[in-house]
Amino acid sequence: MLSSARVQAPERRRPQPWLIRVTHWLNVPLLLIMAASGLQIWVAYPMLGPQGRPYGWYPFQGVPPPEWMRLGSWLAGARHWHFAFAWFLTLNGVAYVLYLALSGEWRRRLFLPRRDARNALDTLAFYLRVRKHAPAQGLYNGLQRLAYTGTLALGLLAVLSGLVLYKPVQLGALTSLLGGYDAARAVHLVILVLLALFTVGHIALVLLHPRSLAEMVTGGRKPDA
């Protein structure tokens, strides 16, 4: 059991403790493998909606993704990649969430609407040049907390919708919860698109603030006592 005496308060810790760094960087190959093998699986039937009733809102019915984005060569190969590495992505996520919960890191990382909503709006106003000065912040501003908490929620939903696609009958309760097999397939693809968009923004902002990249590599400096 982690006693409060042995666990440092997050404010006294390095900006990026080692478990955060390890799980963060493991996500890079794991998410790439899952996305690329997922797109190869998608090629076998690049449509949304059940047979004979394609979803009208989906604009790219029948359009397969380009070959350079794919991994696994063919459907069976890609499925083996996807179902092998899904375990490691899930374990990585579980390790991260457990660490957040037990260490108290969730307090400075997760988006708590009452605390962070105002700051998120002010930061957005600052980025949009509506506001002159960035609002005061600790490790993260409200907008960062919203983005990172959002990706965590997307990750959870990716795993749940993926489980529905893998075992729609054995996990029937989960299938109904997500609105059925074909709905879960749409959810799974939309999450991929959202995570890809997040990654583009994430990399762009890291390039604007290179210190955050250094901290995610070295852990950063402990705050002065």
Binding site: G52, A76, H80, V169
Partner: protein, 231 residues
């Protein structure tokens, strides 16, 4: 410490080449991917609950006429040879041959459930036929026969099933679809249909059902697709 760096680099390179050779997409049954597939097969079998049923769907969910895909591996639609009958063999007390009439005299089961294809699409039809467990009872299948092999007249297409999935109440030998006799495109005169496996496990154009002590692979399974393939 150049020496320390060198060993770390070597270790990294070694790990990378190991990953590359252990993850060969053209041979997914080998190396690391193969080990994970065997792990996943055990996980799927453990998750399988023989009492859990695929939900019965209302008629409105039926896939529109002509939109339920028709798959076979022959160049043209396989047609039943004259005098077709189903051979039942392996570890059974009463091996023999059943005509379509004889099969239709066994208790009939009707299903309207979702079909899940390995490609990712789903479709819905109603199917009627006789439970595979009913045929096993009729033929006196041995309790030690842990697997069921299904063979067809579609260019050697075949598959084999674990007993719990084969004996599931929603696993039937179907001779009808949407209230009509099966058409050649959907596996006439007799095909396997089930709520608990992916489509490629449901052998069409059946010729033989054998109750066996060992699994015997399958057409797609031997080419690299998962053998268990539960849904």
């Amino acid at each position: 410490m150049p020496r320390h760096l060198l060993t770390r680099r070597k270790a990294l390179l070694g790990a990378t080449s190991l990953t590359v050779s252990a993850c060969d997409s053209s041979r997914p049954r080998e190396g690391f991917l193969g080990a994970m597939e065997r792990f996943n097969a055990r996980a799927q079998a453990a998750l399988f609950d023989e009492r859990r049923l695929a939900p019965e769907l209302p008629p409105e969910e039926t896939t529109p006429p002509g939109k339920f895909p028709e798959y076979f591996v022959s160049d043209t639609v396989p047609l039943a040879p004259t005098g077709w009958a189903l051979q039942v063999g392996g570890m059974v007390a009463r091996p023999g041959v059943l005509t379509l009439d004889a099969l239709q005299r066994l208790p009939r089961t009707d299903l309207r459930i979702r079909h899940h294809c390995v490609e990712g699409w789903s479709a819905v039809a109603s199917w009627h036929g006789v439970r595979l467990s009913e045929l096993a009872r009729y033929a006196g299948a041995d309790a030690r026969a842990g697997y069921v092999e299904l063979r067809s007249f579609d260019a050697g297409y075949h598959s084999s099933w674990d007993r719990p999935s084969a004996f599931h109440p929603q696993t039937i030998l179907a001779y009808g679809m949407n209230g009509q006799p099966l058409t050649p495109g959907h596996g006439a005169p007799l095909r396997l249909y089930s709520g608990v496996k992916l489509g490629y496990k449901m052998v069409k154009y059946l010729t033989k059902v054998n109750f066996l002590p060992e699994p015997t692979g399958g057409y797609w399974e031997d080419r690299g697709y998962e053998w268990f393939a539960g849904v």
